[in-house]
Symmetry: C2
Subunit: 508 residues, 2 copies
């Protein structure tokens, strides 16, 4: 590296640090809005968020960023410096391809469509939302053209959340998942029908009177044991749980408590803590650079799912933790044993709402969205036909027709927010969570026994070393290959599901 | 106004709105740091704050701001547009006079000196802080030269907090205050000595067991009655209470609770709510302009003091509220009647610490700081001689020699933060609070009776109409003249103090 290149590189890093500050402050504005902000501040907050996103966008796409990138020399992606330059160039080029006017229009249209969606969902009235979605779709198709793609316009959008992901590869993955999951769901349904077992009975232990403070106490104890660092984070309440990093050394989670139902806070806390452990584990030297934070939404979701499902819905975990839970809720859980509780948190049954779906059927909810949004983007499906198409696929994949559009096509906020191409990252996360967990178990077979003892240091240590610390240094495909010596592969995930639910429902 | 001027004016307003957003977001960063931010985020938060202040400073001093100001036409200060242009030009010119390098050095030096001050105060070791203060003083003297002044370098610094204030005029004001206050203090001391009355006995009702939740409940009830708008604000806890506006429609206060002492939360809540009422009352059309927020620190302090002292430490207020307080703390207050409580919250006695001083002696604490900092700035006093000078003035004005430097020259954070010229605004606020309250009473003599009934709408309405809604439209002198038909005048304040404490201590 010449000294001229070094100078340019340092200037580039300063510039990126400023952009990173503006983005992390954005996260604080979001966090505050969801937790403590008074209602009267809504309009002012919207202005602040618009101002910061405009400033950071302007600074990123400024010709000076391009000049410094060029002047910093050819990136060697095997070095940290090279990885930083590669990621910075990617961010710069994606942002620079988007005309400022399109960015501004998208921001205005989604701001309006979000509140239209809220009303439409409340009233289950598709016509209130359809014209907004029409506009958003047209902006997204425009964006895909500006961003460019080789095979399919949907690829251009996917890439925002999952660098390198392609529609064609996802189709293959979903095809394989469908082939494994649909028969499993059918087998469980048949077995349940045969033995007259009711899912409601099975899930009953999760319902009752569960004081919120005690739920919180339990959740805090669990994620403290996972390794969540309270010195660099905190937990608050919000209607929709999330994890956010409003600054270096600051990774916060939020939780929703239901005093009559254990699941949302219990698994929500573990889920968000899984995201937080990833972000807290990134190499400290990456602070205020494009390498800070997770490499993709899919890899992020693999971490939240791993802690929520592979740890939190596992028998070894509850072998240790069930007695503690029972101590906190002696009344509600007095007639439930650990095995009954384990069965309650693992009921497999098709249902209308994605966020309440079990581990298995969840992926069919995603498949449906993936197919529909890709069809919308390519133009083979119209907004007018979307509700019908939704219901048809629900019936085909899950044997259910939603009772109304609120419980159907209007249930998720994603499209109202313009997030086309985001949904598949949920299933990528599910698939990857098992692939990574298997690799961890292979390296350290004692992990299961540790979990039975309420210890998680070996598992966390392995994740830290192999996934977390790298932040965004590697693209998802590189990271997966590096850690598991294979590309993303649904086979381990399917055998995990078949083993777990086959045993639970005595299918063998 | 030509259409060219109109275009420039609109562009200027957009630019100022962006700057205003950056500044209000700064306030949120501050609020979060004082309330909920995890410890591990300190370094990252410092970077975020530095980035935002650099960006807003750069945008303000950019030549484009000057060009737009020039192109917007001659401001007519009698119009809102003119007032906005005048204030914007003032902000621009003050900022543009300061070399970027001096701003950056000041920010670095104060960041270090703040933590040095914390340690020095903890260990009561002046030598730990003196070299830092030496550096700050030299930067402040440099700043005064760049900012320019007619008569005294201190004027240049004062102007930052109190536009138009001058050392010479403040000297006259303090001289008059001293002439009135010193004999009052002496008379009370003599009377107390004569009758053997102990201040400690008098203040006893404020000490005891006061549950924090109930203290909070009482404080919330009081400021709700004052008119604090919870839809556009909130109350949290912090070590040092403050009021901050982290966005339009968002004015938050914080409170410190002491379970063994009523005063901090009780009067702190009213004080911060007084600031908040001012900010909440500004004309909504001034949002994101330089006219939003209070016109000066002194006028701001007049509002906090008015609610804290003229309402909150008055007999009419407690005629209504004492029974409510007693209901909340039946045990601690069972042997105290309303009159005893009124005397407890109005003990006059010289003491070491400014923030714990009574209404009367408080101003001598300020006088001392005013004289010392002006002498430091003009170079007639050296840092080395400061502790001695401090103690000498404490003895002269209050008859007390602080037991150590922590309780003396090291007690306030202001100088460590580079806030030279700030202290006098506290006494300006005290003086003005009475001048305004008298004007309100003259317009609406029924205010006292309203307060006795726990109603504050006429008082608040008058303040809204005459002070709050104008925001920064008028400079302090203009506002005072406009509302009270006179310049700032200590006479009403002195007669308020003499009447109140003369009666309390039976001096007549």
């Amino acid at each position: 590296m010449t000294s001229k290149q070094e100078t340019a590189y340092q200037q580039l890093k300063d510039r990126l640090a400023t952009i990173s500050d503006l983005q992390s402050v954005q996260s604080l504005l979001f966090w505050d809005q969801q937790t403590y902000m008074p209602k009267g501040a809504v309009a002012g907050r919207a202005e602040q968020r618009a101002t910061l996103s405009r400033l950071s966008h302007e600074m990123l796409v400024d010709a000076e960023t391009g000049r410094l990138l060029d002047a910093s020399g050819e990136p060697d992606p095997s070095s940290e410096r090279g990885a930083l330059l590669r990621r910075a160039r990617r961010d710069y080029e994606r942002a620079a391809k988007m005309p400022a006017d399109l960015v501004a229009r998208t921001s205005r249209v989604t701001a309006l469509s979000e509140s239209a969606w809220v009303r439409a969902r409340e009233e289950s009235d598709w016509t209130l939302f359809a014209p907004h979605l029409e506009e958003i779709l047209s902006l997204k198709r425009e964006a895909a053209e500006f961003l460019g793609y080789e095979h399919h316009p949907y690829d251009a959008l996917l890439d925002a959340y999952e660098p390198g992901a392609k529609k064609a590869r996802l189709e293959t993955m979903f095809e394989e998942l469908k082939r494994g999951i649909v028969p499993l769901i059918r087998a469980v349904a048949e077995q349940s029908a045969e033995r007259g077992r009711d899912s409601e009975d099975r899930a009953a232990p999760l319902y009752g009177r569960f004081g919120e403070d005690r739920q919180e106490e339990f959740g805090r104890a669990v994620i403290s044991a996972f390794g969540y660092d309270w010195g660099r984070g905190r937990q608050d309440r919000s209607v929709h749980p999330f994890c956010v990093g409003p600054g270096h050394g600051d990774v916060r989670i939020t939780t929703r408590f239901d005093p009559g139902w254990l699941s949302p806070a219990l698994f929500g806390t573990m889920h968000e803590a899984g995201h937080a452990l990833y972000t807290q584990g990134v190499n400290q030297d990456y602070a205020r650079t494009p390498l800070d934070g997770g490499t993709s939404m899919g890899v992020h979701e693999s971490q939240s799912r791993l802690w929520e499902n592979l740890v939190g819905r596992s028998r070894p975990f509850w072998a240790c933790y069930y007695s503690k839970l029972q101590e906190l809720f002696p009344e509600a859980l007095k007639e439930v044993d650990a095995e009954g509780f384990y069965r309650a948190i693992n009921v497999l049954e098709p249902s209308e709402i994605r966020v309440e779906a079990d581990e298995v059927t969840y992926n069919l909810h995603i498949l449906l969205r993936f197919e529909l949004e890709a069809a919308l983007i390519e133009g083979s499906l119209s907004i007018a036909d979307l509700p019908t198409a939704w219901n048809a696929k629900m019936e085909e994949y899950l044997g259910i027709v939603p009772k109304n559009d609120s419980a159907g096509v209007l249930q998720d906020i994603h499209w109202a927010d313009g997030l086309f191409g985001y949904f598949p990252t949920y299933t990528i996360g599910n698939v990857l969570s098992v692939q990574l967990f298997d690799a961890a178990l292979k390296a350290h077979p004692g992990i299961t026994e540790q979990i039975e003892n309420g210890e998680f240091s070996v598992l966390l240590g392995w994740l830290r070393e192999n996934v977390h610390r790298h932040g965004s240094r590697y693209y998802p495909d590189e990271l997966i290959e590096r850690v598991t010596s294979r590309p993303l592969d649904p086979a381990p995930y399917l055998s995990y599901l078949n083993n777990k639910f086959g045993e639970l429902y005595e299918l063998v």
